[in-house]
Symmetry: C2
DNA sequence: TGAGACGCGCAAGGAGCGTGCAAACGACAC
DNA sequence: GTGTCGTTTGCACGCTCCTTGCGCGTCTCA
């Protein structure tokens, strides 16, 4: 865990909201000079506290109409089989997130697709037939209440 | 759905990977001049195809050790009760994503927490006692295979 | 008390940004 | 074929923004 003070937290929080903030804008928000913000930002990038910057694209504007959560059970739990499944998941760009979980299913995937045909294709033609997979259950997202990847920095005390 | 050509797709794809790319770098990647990339980027921002830019922070480096998926069933399905629940969800920064789904549960939440105590607090002291909530089941993430919010732009034909 | 380390703001040189402008291109009508 | 209009492009220029060097103030510890 990397030491981070109140200034860093302000900078991180601001960049989480707007990743293209100017050093001067950052300076105004954090109560520092622009040069100092530049230096701190560079340090946070080098330490990989800031992992990267990404544009957030509108799925609606680009015609991705379906989001689905897919629960997957593996055929066997051998290391080889897990590895096969992970390779498969990595290859599929429609899968944005993939986790192994405690509880019923072995894995949960979150996928973004143009339409239900795309989901059907993913589930029935790609996942189901794969040798590593035993069963699949998908749930379609009806409504998005919230969708971000912001960390709750306010939970942090400056260290 | 907004018209987007091959140049736009290259720009969007590049900015999805690195949101702080320079117009000149964008120009090299897309095969255009820097000024033209600037103009196109501004257009895409105005049209809200680009919804924003965000720094991606390392949860490990910042000491967030627990990710959990929480399935929630509402007490009743009245509009009032849904609204109460949505307000609750919006207030809680630890909840990054929240969706209503087809299938068993009414809602799925994804939460990021410092430790299991934080999860226990969220589930037992915040969600469970809330009047809108009937039952809660949480699954802890054991492993992250993939975690991004990149759209599969290669699925798109330039229009 | 003094020396070293650290973090700060300022200033300057260089890089990047966006607007104006004229040329190139494509579509369409005649 | 040819003329016209609208769109898109690259280039140039003025302006903003970025980063690095420098000197100053503060804190720590011997």
């Amino acid at each position: 865990m990397i030491p981070v003070d109140t200034f860093d937290l302000k900078i991180l929080s601001a960049l989480q909201d707007d990743g293209r903030l100017t050093n001067q804008e950052l300076a105004d928000l954090a109560g520092l000079s622009a040069s100092q913000c530049s230096r701190r930002r560079m340090r946070l990038e080098e330490e990989k506290v800031i992992a990267g910057y990404h544009a957030d694209l509108s799925s609606e504007a680009l015609g991705f109409g379906v989001i689905a959560f897919i629960q997957v059970g593996l055929a066997t739990h051998s290391p080889d089989n897990s590895k096969r499944f992970r390779t498969l998941v990595n290859r599929i760009d429609e899968i944005q997130e993939a986790y192994s979980l405690t509880g019923d299913a072995d894995y949960v995937l979150k996928a973004v697709l143009r339409d239900l045909k795309g989901l059907s294709n993913l589930v029935n033609d790609v996942l189901m037939p794969h040798q590593s997979v035993a069963h699949v259950r998908s749930s379609i997202v009806l409504d998005r209440l919230k969708e971000s990847s912001k960390l709750p920095l306010k939970d942090l005390k400056a260290g």
